[in-house]
Every structure is written in structure tokens, then in C-alpha cells.
């Protein structure tokens, strides 16, 4: 990065700060609203209070939704790690040609709009031997497909950077089994890519609404569905919810980044 000086520098800074302001303004407004006693006919709120947060965090329905969201996301991510890591390993180590095919495959969750694919999922899993519409299981499965592209891309980049084949070969010649080589040599070097993938997928899935609402709805209320169902209640309360949700993702990202940095 080069240091900007003079008029041009000032201009560039101004643009960046302005952009920041525009992006942060709605969030700041929401934050202020969630802290306001009431804010209707005046320029600024008439008073500040934490009562909306207290009310929110003592609301059992919110806590349940929060926990359920967490559970579904963690479940989906766990499933993707368990399935995608070995898949990536096999693709890149044994069948490098499949990578091109996989790159098309992972675009599918993006290519089909959620509203369309949820109709398909409702058809498939609504009845019959695999009926699981309305249960968290279908969400975990569905979220797995959404996480797939993030996970696959991030970890593939990481894999390409470490020269997988030579590392595996070297480890095996030194006496390691394929399993040992994968666990002791390859996996630790994928930590960065894996972390990026998990964070990205988590933030995305935690805020997912369409699938959650259509496939499960109130039968297993997630955070976003809860927020939707509360849309007619107090705006202050809902603002507190949004800010809480945002703060949670922010803190999580920060903690994960810190943990990741310390080890290298």
C-alpha cells in the first residue's frame, strides 16, 4: 500500500469514508432505534434505554430461535466438513480431472433460485420414506448444499497452494499411511482455507430466511423466521434483535480470526 498525500489523497480518503458512512448509516440508525425509549415525532430519540435488549434476551421464544439457528448452522457445517474434506482430497489427489466437473456442480445451488428449489425439496421430502419437511433435518441437508460452493472453492484454493501430491508422496515415503499423511500433513495446512470457508458459510446460513421459512416455518423457528413473525411487534424490539444478531456474527468472526492468527 502506498501512502497518499496532498489533494488526491484527501479526495480518496473522502470517498472511502463517505462509502463507510453510507454503509454504516442504516446499521447506526437501527442501533440507535434499539436503544431509544421512543422515537417518533422528534429528530432524535427522547431517551436511551437497554430495556428492549433486556426484553429480547429474556424472551424464551427468541432464545429458542437463536439456539435452533445455531444448531442448524453448526449441523450443516459439520456435515459439510465431514463430506467435503474427504471429497476434495479424493478429487485433487486421485482424480484431478473431476475438478472441472465439480466446479460446475457447485454452481447449482446458486443457479437455482431458493424459491424454486424449495418447491422441489417440498415435493421430494414432503411425504414418503424420507419425509422430513418441517424438521430441522431438511434444513441441515439443504444448508449443506448452500455451504458446498463456499467450502469447495476456499479449500481448493488452499489445496492448490500447498502442492498436495508432493506432500503426500513425501509423507508416504517417510512411512506414513495415507490416513496419517492426510491427518498430520495435509489437514493442518488446510486450516486457513477451512476457517475462511466456515466463517463465510456460517454468516450466510445464519441469515438465511427463504429456505427456513418455506421448508420448516414455525415448526422449528430459526432466528430469521422469528424476526419475520415478529414484524408486527415493536420496532425497537426488532432493532434490538437485528443488532444482537449482527454483533454475534461480528464477534464470532473476530474470535475466529484471532484464534487463526495465533497459531501461525
Amino acid at each position: 500500500m502506498r501512502a497518499e498525500t496532498g489533494k488526491g489523497g484527501l479526495y480518496h480518503k473522502l470517498v472511502v469514508y463517505l462509502l463507510f458512512l453510507i454503509l454504516l448509516l442504516p446499521l447506526a440508525g437501527t442501533l440507535l432505534y434499539s436503544l431509544a425509549t421512543s422515537w417518533s415525532a422528534t429528530m432524535l430519540p427522547s431517551g436511551l434505554t437497554f430495556k428492549w435488549y433486556v426484553a429480547l434476551w429474556s424472551e424464551p421464544r427468541f432464545l429458542a430461535a437463536f439456539g435452533q439457528s445455531l444448531l442448524v448452522c453448526v449441523g450443516a457445517l459439520l456435515l459439510s466438513v465431514l463430506l467435503i474434506l474427504p471429497l476434495l482430497f479424493v478429487v485433487h489427489y486421485h482424480f484431478p480431472r473431476l475438478d472441472a466437473f465439480m466446479n460446475v456442480l457447485i454452481l447449482l445451488p446458486f443457479a437455482v433460485p431458493p424459491v424454486v428449489s424449495s418447491v422441489g425439496l417440498l415435493q421430494l421430502y414432503g411425504s414418503g420414506p424420507m419425509a422430513m419437511v418441517g424438521t430441522p433435518w431438511i434444513l441441515i441437508g439443504c444448508y449443506f448444499t448452500i455451504a458446498l460452493p463456499f467450502m469447495y472453492r476456499a479449500i481448493t484454493n488452499n489445496l492448490q497452494a500447498i502442492n498436495l501430491r508432493d506432500l503426500m508422496d513425501a509423507a508416504q515415503l517417510l512411512g506414513a499411511s495415507t490416513w496419517q499423511a492426510a491427518m498430520l500433513v495435509v489437514l493442518p495446512n488446510l486450516r486457513k482455507g477451512l476457517m475462511v470457508a466456515l466463517l463465510l458459510s456460517f454468516s450466510f446460513l445464519f441469515g438465511e430466511f427463504v429456505f427456513a421459512n418455506l421448508l420448516v416455518g414455525t415448526r422449528y423457528e430459526t432466528l430469521q423466521v422469528y424476526l419475520n413473525n415478529m414484524r408486527n411487534s415493536s420496532g425497537h424490539f426488532n432493532s434490538a434483535l437485528v443488532i444482537s444478531y449482527f454483533a454475534f456474527v461480528l464477534v464470532l468472526t473476530w474470535v475466529a480470526n484471532r484464534l487463526n492468527k495465533d497459531k501461525t
Binding site: I162, D166, L173, G175
Partner: protein, 329 residues
């Protein structure tokens, strides 16, 4: 019986053969170089010996035992890669100790052996560093130490110097050879660099298009190439077709003629009149391009003093050592 004996080895990829009927022996303690252009099958042969690439048919005997059915883990072979293949998540010490860890060697013994081998490659003070904190040459020395610590029966080096810059390459070349001699380690070295092959090896196996062209010590390969490819690949032979060869020697020549550039003497009282076309300074050698009897020849002359330098366009005469002429198929 040779220590390593490759017999009738065949390997093909997707139907097209990489090599067929390869036979090759390596004696105990010998440093053998597989030399050839890229794609000649030398690296594949090395990987077959290591067990990293399966063979189609044939045998590889190591100390009398056929190792083809064995997995790489059970062959007792050490290997160094062009890319170093150091484990980025481990320190130098952990990298070197990895093989011992896999063999479940006790911690205190492992520590002693790691120290020993790091001393051998002069990297003792780097034990706590990570690979990304080392230079290319240091990385390759760590990789060498890592492959030596398990005391392999056979050491394979797959173009270990190709990714390094020239100065480091020369130094490391001598270091590898010294360590190999000291340990009496049977070693197979793969390279496409003729200079590396000539300076390091007890014996060179020259390969081209999946077959062994010629095998012998550096002197033999350099002075007595068996065919056109060998002559073209090693040294800077003047290769003349029958037509030009006959014109130069003024007697009928049936095959092609190979003349080494340093077997031609430039002077003022030689047998053939010639004209200097161009020259380039290679350091201790000056390489002239001269025209003689409408044939262009490359002549290497030792760079003794500036007074001896022949300017471009100058008329000189030259003589060719008749014993250095080689007719090749």
C-alpha cells in the same frame, strides 16, 4: 548381482508407453544419474522405483528382493523432490523427525539422530525455523536431511537442484556428493542438466523417448557418444551431415560426423584456412564460430590472454585432431 536391478520395466499412461523394457543396474554405493530431456521418462522411472507410480510389468530388485509389490512405506527408500515438499506446518526439526515418528523411534533417540543429520547438512541452528523462513537452498538441505534420517537403503533425487539459482546449485551439488560419499549411500539422481550429470555421477544413464540411449561414466559419454542424440545432448558437438563432413575433410564420409569444439585448434599455421564469424566469451573459454570450406564450426579455445583473441572477420587457420573425429549413426 547389482544392488538395484531394474528388469524389463514397462509403464504406459492412457495407452501410450512412457517406457518399455527398461533394464538398468546400480551397484552398492554408486551415484548414478538418469539424464535426459523432459518427457524422456526419467522421472517416471524414479517414481516407479519409489513406488509412487505403479508399473505395468517388470521387476525392480533392491538388494535381491523384488520391491514392485511393496508399498512406498515398506521400500526403505528416501526421496528428495524438486519442490522440496517440506511440511509447511512443521519446524525444520519436526520435518526431519517425521520419518522417525512414523517408525515410532523413541523421543530421545530421535532427537539425537535429528541433530546428527542436521549437522551433516549444516543446519543445526535452524532447527526451530519453519520452511517459509528458509531460503530455497536451505529448504532442499532440510529435505535431504529428512530423507537421510531414516537411513534409507536407496536415495532418490528428483531434480533437486532445478529450482535453485546457479551459485547455490553448484555449492549444493558438491555438498550432496560429499554426503553421499561419506555415507556410502546408493543414489539415483534425475536431471536434465548435462553439467550436473557430468560433475556428480559415478555413472550416467542417458535416456531419450522412454529408452536408455547410453550408459557409462562421464568420460565415456562425453568422448564417445553412441549416436546423434547422445552427441547432441552432451557437450556442444559440431554435428555435420555426410555432405558437409565430406566437404570439410575432403574425403567421402558416409554417416554423420561429430567434432568436439575443443578438439579444434585455432592458429596461424594450421592446415585449413578459416574465417572468424563471431565469438562469445564464456569466462575461461572463448567460443568462436568459424567458417571453413563453407562449413560453420564451433571452436572452443581456452581464454589465456587478451592478446590471443581473434577479432571477427579475421582470417585464421585451424587444425582438427583426427582422433577426436567421431562418426555417429
Amino acid at each position: 548381482m547389482s544392488f538395484v536391478s531394474v528388469q524389463k520395466l514397462q509403464k504406459s499412461y492412457a495407452g501410450s508407453p512412457v517406457f518399455e523394457n527398461i533394464d538398468c543396474q546400480v551397484e552398492r554405493g554408486e551415484f548414478v544419474t538418469l539424464l535426459g530431456p523432459s518427457g524422456c521418462g526419467k522421472s517416471t522411472l524414479l517414481r516407479c522405483i519409489a513406488g509412487l507410480t505403479p508399473v505395468d510389468s517388470g521387476q525392480i530388485l533392491l538388494d535381491g528382493q523384488d520391491i514392485v509389490p511393496l508399498t512406498p512405506q515398506k521400500r526403505g527408500i528416501g526421496m528428495v523432490f524438486q519442490s522440496y515438499a517440506l511440511f509447511p506446518n512443521m519446524t525444520v526439526e519436526q520435518n526431519v523427525a517425521f520419518g522417525l515418528r512414523m517408525q515410532k523411534v523413541k523421543a530421545d533417540e530421535s532427537q539425537v539422530r535429528v541433530r546428527e543429520v542436521l549437522e551433516l547438512v549444516e543446519l543445526n541452528s535452524f532447527a526451530g525455523r519453519y520452511p517459509h523462513q528458509l531460503s530455497g537452498g536451505q529448504c532442499q538441505r532440510v529435505a535431504l536431511a529428512r530423507s537421510l534420517v531414516t537411513r534409507p537403503r536407496l536415495l532418490l533425487l528428483d531434480e533437486p537442484l532445478s529450482a535453485l539459482d546457479a551459485r547455490i546449485r553448484k555449492h549444493l551439488r558438491e555438498q550432496i556428493r560429499a554426503i553421499q560419499r561419506e555415507l556410502g549411500l546408493t543414489t539415483i539422481f534425475v536431471t536434465h542438466d548435462q553439467e550436473e550429470a557430468l560433475t556428480m555421477s559415478d555413472r550416467i544413464v542417458l535416456m531419450n523417448q522412454g529408452r536408455i540411449v547410453q550408459s557409462g561414466d562421464a568420460e565415456t559419454l562425453y568422448t564417445a557418444p553412441v549416436d546423434l542424440f547422445a552427441a547432441g545432448f552432451i557437450g556442444n558437438y559440431n554435428l555435420l551431415d555426410a555432405d558437409r563432413a565430406s566437404r570439410l575433410l575432403q574425403r567421402p564420409v558416409s554417416g554423420r560426423l561429430a567434432i568436439r569444439p575443443e578438439s579444434i585448434t585455432l592458429g596461424l599455421n594450421g592446415e585449413l584456412d578459416a574465417e572468424v564469424r563471431s565469438h562469445s566469451l564464456l569466462g575461461n573459454v572463448i567460443r568462436y564460430r568459424v567458417q571453413v570450406r563453407e562449413v560453420e564450426l564451433v571452436v572452443d579455445v581456452l581464454n589465456r590472454s587478451a592478446a590471443d583473441l581473434h577479432a571477427d572477420g579475421k582470417r585464421v587457420s585451424l587444425s582438427i585432431d583426427p582422433t577426436a573425429l567421431r562418426e555417429v549413426a
